[in-house]
Structure formats: C-alpha cells, structure tokens
Symmetry: C2
Subunit: 219 residues, 2 copies
DNA sequence: TGAAGTATGTTGAATTTTCAACAAAAAGGA
DNA sequence: TCCTTTTTGTTGAAAATTCAACATACTTCA
C-alpha cells in the first residue's frame, strides 16, 4: 500500500488527511487492492453497489451498454480518481453501469459501509472522508454537466468541436492529445464512428484543425 | 418559515434533523425565502455559485443554453428538492447553468459557506448537513446517469420510448402524466420539437401508446 | 364571448446520420 | 520480418433529423 502513497495523496477522497494517518486509516477501512489487465471488467453492471473504487495506476472507463448493444462511455477515471462512489453513497443495491480497465490498472476497493457508518474504532477521519466524498460528488456532477453540454449538440461536427475545445481548455493549449481512440470518442460523443472519422477529415481539409492519430491541434 | 415545515421535512438536505432543531438551524444558516413567477429567472448563468436553492413550492428547471441558442433541460426540481448545490460544493466561482421557475414558486436560499464551513455558534448540525448533502449529490449523479441513458439513444423514437418507460416505472403504472410540454420534452430529450410531435403521432397510429395532452398510456 | 397569443401537429425539402462494406494503415505477436 | 488482427478512413445508399412554414387546437384575459 505504501508504494501508492503518492497517488493516494492526490486522491480527492483523502484530501486534508496527513500521510501518517492515511495508511492507518486505510487499514481501518480494510482497503483491498486488485490488478486488472486492459479491457478487463472491474465492476459488471448489476453487481452490488458495495465498493468504492480508487484508481492507483492506469485508468478505467465507466460505460453503459443498452438493450441494442449501443455503448456509451460515461466517464474515464485516471490515477487518483474515484469511481462507483455515487451508487454506494446513494445506497443503490446494484450498480447501473460497467467499469472496465482502459489499460493495465491497479485498483483499490473500499467497502462503502466502512466510510458511511461510523467505525467501531471511532477513528477520527470519517467526518473528513464524508466531506471529501461530498466534494468529489459535486465535481462529478459538474463533469456530467460538461458532458451533457457537449453531447446535447445536434451534429457530429458540433459535438466534436465542443469536445476538442474543452480538451484544449483543459490542456491550456491548442495542441493536445486525447485519451480516446476513434471508437471510444464516438461512444463518448454518442455518434457513429465512421461519421466521426469523416468529420475529422473534413475539418482537416477545411483547415480548421490538424491531427495525427490522437494528437490534435486547433487552428 | 414555519409554514414550510412540512416540505422541509421531506427535503433530503434536512433528513434526520428533528423538527424543533430545524427552524433553529435555518436561522443559524441565515436562510432566506424568495418568490418567483412562472418563467422568472432564479439563477442566471454566470452568477456567483454562492447559494444553494431549496424548492418550497412550485418547481424549477435547470437549463443550459448554448452559443447557438439551443436549450437543454438538465433537470426539473420540485417541492422539497435542492438545486445549485453542486456548484457551491465544488466551489465553482460561477454557475454554468440557468435556473428558471417552471411555475410560481417559493425558493429558500442558503449561503453555502454557512453549511460548508463550521459556524461560529458551533451548532451541531453541520456534520449531518454535510452527510445529507453528500447523499443528495450521489442521487443527483445517478439522475444524470439515467438522463444519459435516455439521451444516448440515437433516434427520437428510442429516446421517447426510453423516457416514457422510465416515467411509467416511476409512476408504477403504464398510465401517467408527464411534467413537460412538447417543447420542454424535446429540450430534455435533445431532439426537434416537430419531429417529436410527429413521432408521438406515429406511435399512436401504430397502437404502441395512447395520449391526450400530457397524459400517456403505454399499451 | 371573442380576440390574441401560445402550443401542438403536419408536411416536404434539405441536411445529416446511420449502416454496411471495403480499403488502407497501424499495431501486435511469433 | 512477416503474418494476423485491429484500427481508421472512405464511400454511397437508406434512414432519420432538422428546418421552415403553416394549419389547427388550446389558453388567456380583456
């Protein structure tokens, strides 16, 4: 667990908790670590909403797959980020999404009941954890607002440009890499992969952007 | 304030707080009440993310309007429900949405800093409030998951049927009323109003549903 | 009640997306 | 390196959406 201390310190769930306290607390919370190869399932849709996940290394995708097999990528969580916390905190029985490893990843699992209900050791961190969880969930809510702002556009072109503009803002530069391959970007933007490829080519021909693989530059 | 006690008790923000404590606490939080006529703006996009809103009567819509004037309805909050809490909790400077009264509404405003930072009176409810806020935000996150599940469908028909199926589930019956007029439903589903009307007519002709105004029945 | 304003339904043309199929390019493994 | 697999780009036809315009129904309020 010690080797992940640097990541854990960046994790919003553990903000304002001292190093020495952190490891002790994780023991108290009975945190477990698991490793997942790329594409492997961390949580399957319908499994109990019992554990909160923390990405220690790698990254995971939170996805929904509907009746017809259409897949939506809801979010991508990277190192130090938390996932599946909303289902545990809202006390859903089952999680309504799947979580898969986007690359080889180490994941820490915390039984949510250890956070939500005061532990018998009465260690003093629950209040801080709850507060951190609240902030984390507020940030997640805003993340969904941003996603909806992008996907509510009506055309592939507008969705793509809105997405790229947001990535450029995040990167602080008009030149940046994106995390998605083409199919994944289509699943995030909720458009057709082939139409997305075509639109990228069109924007390039029009001189609006340049790109090579996953690197983009807005002109 | 007393006249709203019944509503406030239903409000998730005040769960597990005794009646007698509630009014005292609201005074401590310096809660204010405002009234808004239908269509009036409760919060304008870009205004400071300082206040948390609680619907005492009526209902509000949380909306985004993009550069081209396209309007998305993100959520509708009715009596006892909380809004704009995510922006305050995440400590955004400005709120990225607008909130408008959907009907004549009374709204309670609470300065978020009074909740997030321990008050000098050191009244004992902050921990419970933070916990309630966390739960509320978890539920909101799940609400967005559901919205995305609906709007990620590719056709007007699929979006509409997914929406109606969810409303039927919520109502516990195949016969139910919806809160939206046609334009609002289109803004929620992110489709064209005229196309939506056409699709409703088509589903009716196909014998898949019956409807009169805002009453629907799935057959 | 009547008039004005708003909401809903309908339609056809233009635009866009989806779908399927395939070619080309890139990545991975033996 | 060569072969296989995966990813990406391209294309045309079919399907669906958007847009604009208008008719009708419904509301509101004087």
């Amino acid at each position: 667990m010690k080797k992940y201390l640097k990541i854990l310190k960046k994790c919003p769930l553990f903000a304002n908790i001292e190093d020495e306290d952190l490891l002790r607390m994780l023991k108290c919370l009975d945190a477990k670590i698991g490793s997942f190869d790329k594409k492997y399932t961390v949580f399957a849709e319908g499994s109990p909403a019992k554990y909160i996940g923390v990405v220690l290394s790698g990254s995971v995708q939170v996805i929904q797959v509907d009746y017809y097999g259409n897949r939506s990528i809801l979010s991508v969580m990277g190192e130090g980020e938390v996932f599946a916390e909303a289902f545990a905190c809202a006390e859903l029985r089952e999680i309504p999404v799947s979580v898969i490893a986007d690359e080889p990843s180490d994941i820490m699992f915390i039984d949510s009941s250890h956070i939500l209900h005061t532990c018998h050791n009465n260690c003093g961190f629950h209040q801080q954890l709850i507060f951190n969880l609240m902030k984390d969930l507020a940030v997640k809510t805003i993340m969904f607002h941003q996603r909806i702002e992008i996907t509510s556009k009506r055309t592939t072109r507008e969705k793509l440009l809105a997405y790229l503009a947001m990535q450029a803002r995040r990167a602080g530069s008009n030149s940046f890499d994106i995390d998605f391959d083409r199919q994944e970007l289509a699943d995030y933007l909720e458009v057709e992969r082939s139409g997305l490829s075509a639109e990228i080519s069109k924007l390039r021909r029009e001189g609006i952007l340049e790109n090579h693989k996953n690197h983009f530059e807005l002109l």
